[in-house]
């Protein structure tokens, strides 16, 4: 997993709970990287799971909620650093539809070792979009947060319906309905 996820996550923890919490998570999680992350590095995905799970226990907030909040935070970083990707699309549907065929293609060019989730978008009608998220990382709620942030970016009113296609959360269907 790309280092940016770790650094942004730890920034969020520091911002909300102070560096003491960051230190506790790193010290108690027994991480192979020793908790030393740089945005451009690549680290084991299990480490983020450990960190999030531990945080959930400490602050008594469920993991899905944490992921969703983290996604909102992460989106700010994305918009700040990669705004052209957003500007290229005219609205949420357009943007989400471009993830698989455009954004992920570009990401792969920059980071050939990046492991990206699969996002299949199907426009069901002018006002309906179906997104199928497939990833062994099972971070459907992270994806949900990102979708919400996109809607906020384009200032649209869209209802999201989320449904697990696989029980373990490795395949998730999002149904977006413009109001």
């Amino acid at each position: 997993m790309k280092g940016i996820v770790f650094t942004e996550f730890l920034n969020l923890v520091e911002e909300k709970f102070g560096y003491e919490m960051v230190d506790q998570l790193i010290e108690e999680s027994d991480l192979a990287s020793g908790g030393v992350y740089t945005a451009i590095g690549t680290y084991d995905h299990a480490e983020i799971v450990k960190l999030v799970t531990l945080l959930s226990e400490k602050v008594n907030i469920p993991v899905p909620d944490l992921l969703q909040v983290f996604a909102h935070y992460f989106s700010n970083y994305m918009v700040a650093n990669y705004e052209p990707f957003f500007e290229k699309a005219s609205d949420t549907f357009d943007f989400l539809s471009s993830i698989h065929d455009y954004i992920h293609v570009e990401v792969k060019k920059l980071y050939p070792d990046a492991e990206l989730p699969h996002f299949a978008a199907t426009k069901l009608s002018e006002s309906e979009l179906e997104l199928i998220y497939t990833s062994q990382r099972k971070m459907g709620h992270f994806a949900l947060g990102l979708i919400e942030s996109s809607i906020a970016y384009y200032k649209e009113e869209i209802a999201i319906d989320m449904e697990n296609l696989e029980e373990d959360g490795s395949r998730v269907r999002f149904h977006l309905q413009k109001s």
Binding site: Y19, E20, D23, G34, G35, V36, T38, G41
Partner: protein
């Protein structure tokens, strides 16, 4: 927790992270440097390759004497390459921006070019010839290969023409065509001269022969009889020579006209044998015949031509055989729908030296020394050449083998069509009721009183009403005034000849279907026949003709009474199967048939007269299926036979016969087809 410890840990983590990032960045930078190096190298290599390739192709084009010109979609010149400018005598600046067809004065009627330009706009390449003017006004012929120029979206923005100057070749071709035309004209004139002189000689010679015969019947002294015998013999020889010269002239111009008739082959060889038995009656030479043909072996072939070859070969044998025998052999091999006939004439004559054998079939060559004091063999040296050409025209081949001093054997093999047509019908056996009763008389146009008498007698015997015209002018007037079923037209007549009379009749709007015209002519020249067809003559009967030949002709051409149509030739059950009682559908199909097939068939006949067998084949193939749709499967089969026969050139006669059969049957069927519409 101790804040200092925490801070220390934080600083330590941040430092480690920075080092880690620095290492990653350094690796990335190094990687980028390598990629950049390799990219630069690739770009350099590709640039060099491109430059080399450009130099290569530019030098190819510049050295190829090809003029390149780029124009846009409106023919405006965008770029003229140096060699093109040089070819046309312009500077590039003078051409750029001009409209190509205007500046080069390309005439509008070069439709081909317009079509090609249109094609190119749809993205197609093409090659065509173009006549074009240079700056000095000189006409040049160019071979142009034009292709579209496409922009990055694949749209045609103009075209690039590659021009090759073919003016020299064109001029050469024209000169050659002219030279050929002149040569052919000279040859035609020469041929016409030889033919006319020979004809001119023949007429007085006939008189000499005729008078000699009359003299023979008068009272003559012994010496006078001897003189007369020599006179007549010389006249006969002269006649033979003239015939040979006429024959070879005819053959040389490719005008050997094969006229197949049905006859029993064994009768032919027997009659040749009989003819020579009489001739050799007082010679110590025996004439033998070995023949496996029986009277039932009826064939369809040109009897006159085969007879001519046989007489020639046997005559030769007789000339060079002073004792022993001459053997005439015929071996007929059944090959299904036809026979292969091998004729052999062998003798015990003086033979031919081996190195003379290959000269044998050449014109005007005689292998026996004419200065031979002991014997005068005479002749023109044309006989074997004529025989050779006739056998070839009949689709066969001829060979000779000989042993000097012992004898010679000539062999020729020709394919012959089988036929079932019985020929033992003698004119006397034909009853008048076998000929159709005609509603209008037959017009006989003939100036010669003897010929008039002959035809009129026959017609009277068969109960066919006739009118007589003495020349073409009279015939035209009579056709204009009355109604006739058929015209029998002599060609050579005073006042107006048969060609002009036919043309005049056709110009009155009377076509073949309402009044067929059959020429009675002595000419067997193909070109005469062609001329006659062009004038509107439908068929020929060569003079002199036998009664049955005239009878056959009448059977094909006399129209039947409208009121008593013969039994319906259309296959009713077939029509029922096709149309299942849908009269409207049938009627529309018949209408289409009438609108297309007779016209196409006329085209086919024209192509046949022009010996354009490819077109005959094509048309036959095209209209063949239509005959089924009007219930004439037999004609469809015949068209198929025509198609097949067209493929082998030696079947010209078969094609001609089939075509005239189809024509006859089609004409009989048309009223029935019309009736059903």
């Amino acid at each position: 927790m101790d804040e200092i410890t925490l801070l220390k840990r934080r600083i330590e983590r941040e430092r480690n992270a920075r080092r880690q990032a620095e290492r990653i960045l350094e690796d990335k930078a190094l990687e980028l440097y390598r990629v950049n190096e390799s990219l630069e190298e690739t770009v350099n290599r590709r640039t060099l390759q491109l430059r080399q390739s450009e130099i290569k192709y530019r030098s190819i084009i510049e050295n190829m004497q090809l003029g390149l010109l780029e124009v846009d979609n409106d023919e405006v010149i965008i770029r003229a390459y140096p060699l093109f400018c040089q070819m046309m005598g312009y500077e590039e600046e003078e051409l750029r921006g001009k409209i190509a067809s205007q500046v080069f004065q390309i005439s509008e009627d070069q439709e081909d070019m317009q079509a090609k330009i249109a094609e190119r706009k749809s993205g197609l390449s093409s090659v065509y010839e173009l006549a074009i003017h240079t700056k000095s006004g000189e006409l040049k012929y160019l071979l142009v290969s034009g292709g579209p120029i496409l922009n990055e979206h694949g749209e045609v923005t103009g075209s690039l023409g590659i021009h090759y100057d073919i003016t020299y070749q064109k001029e050469l071709q024209q000169e050659l065509e002219e030279a050929l035309y002149k040569a052919e004209a000279a040859q035609r004139a020469q041929k016409a001269f030889v033919t006319s002189v020979s004809h001119e000689i023949r007429t007085p010679l006939n008189v000499i022969i005729g008078m000699s015969e009359l003299l023979e019947d008068s009272k003559l002294s012994g010496t006078q009889k001897e003189y007369l015998h020599t006179l007549k013999k010389s006249a006969d020889i002269l006649m033979g020579l003239i015939s040979d010269v006429l024959d070879i002239a005819k053959i040389d111009s490719g005008e050997i006209l094969v006229n197949p008739v049905s006859f029993p082959l064994c009768e032919l060889v027997k009659s040749v044998r009989d003819m020579f038995s009489v001739k050799l009656e007082f010679e110590p030479v025996e004439i033998r015949l070995s023949c496996n043909a029986i009277p039932e072996n009826q064939v369809e072939a040109d009897e006159k031509l085969i007879r001519q070859v046989l007489i020639n070969l046997v005559g030769n044998a007789a000339k060079f055989t002073h004792q022993g025998y001459i053997d005439i052999g015929l071996n007929l091999v059944d090959q299904g729908d036809r026979y292969e006939a091998s004729f052999a004439v062998s003798d015990t004559g003086i033979g031919i030296k081996e190195n003379d054998l290959d000269k044998l079939f050449k014109q005007f060559v005689q292998v026996h020394d004419l200065k031979d004091k002991k014997r005068d063999y005479g002749g023109t040296g044309l006989g074997l050449a004529i025989s050779h050409r006739i056998v070839e025209a009949l689709g066969g081949n001829i060979h000779v083998s000989s042993e000097y001093g012992k004898g010679t054997m000539f062999q020729f093999t020709i394919p012959l069509m089988k036929t079932n047509m019985p020929l033992d019908v003698k004119p006397s056996q034909i009853k008048s009721k076998e000929l159709p009763a005609v509603s209008h008389p037959v017009l006989i146009v003939e100036d010669n009183p003897m010929n008039q008498q002959y035809v009129l007698t026959l017609m009277k015997k068969w109960g066919i009403p006739t009118h007589l015209a003495e020349n073409g002018k009279e015939a035209v007037d009579m056709v204009a005034a009355g109604k006739y079923s058929l015209v029998l037209m002599d060609i050579q007549m005073p006042i107006m000849n048969g060609y002009d009379a036919t043309r005049a009749i056709r110009q009155m709007g009377i076509d073949s279907s309402s009044l067929p015209i059959v020429a009675l002519t002595a000419s067997t020249l193909k070109s005469d026949h062609q001329r006659a067809f062009d004038m509107g003559i439908d068929d020929f009967l060569a003079k002199p003709f036998k009664p049955d030949q005239l009878q056959n002709l009448l059977l094909s051409y006399l129209p039947l009474h409208k009121k008593d149509l013969p039994s319906n030739p259309l296959d009713e059950s077939m029509l029922e199967e096709i149309y299942q009682g849908d009269a409207e559908y049938r009627s529309s199909m018949f209408q289409i048939f009438l609108e297309t097939v007779p016209a196409e068939f006329e085209n086919l006949e024209r192509s046949l007269r022009e010996s354009d067998f490819d077109t005959v084949h094509q048309i036959a193939h095209k209209i063949k299926p239509n005959f089924d749709l009007v219930g004439l499967p037999r004609l469809r089969e015949k068209m198929q036979s025509i198609e097949l026969a067209c493929k082998s050139r030696d079947q010209e006669n078969v094609v001609a016969n089939l075509v005239s059969e189809v024509k006859r049957e089609l004409q009989l069927s048309l009223p029935h087809i019309k009736r059903l519409i």
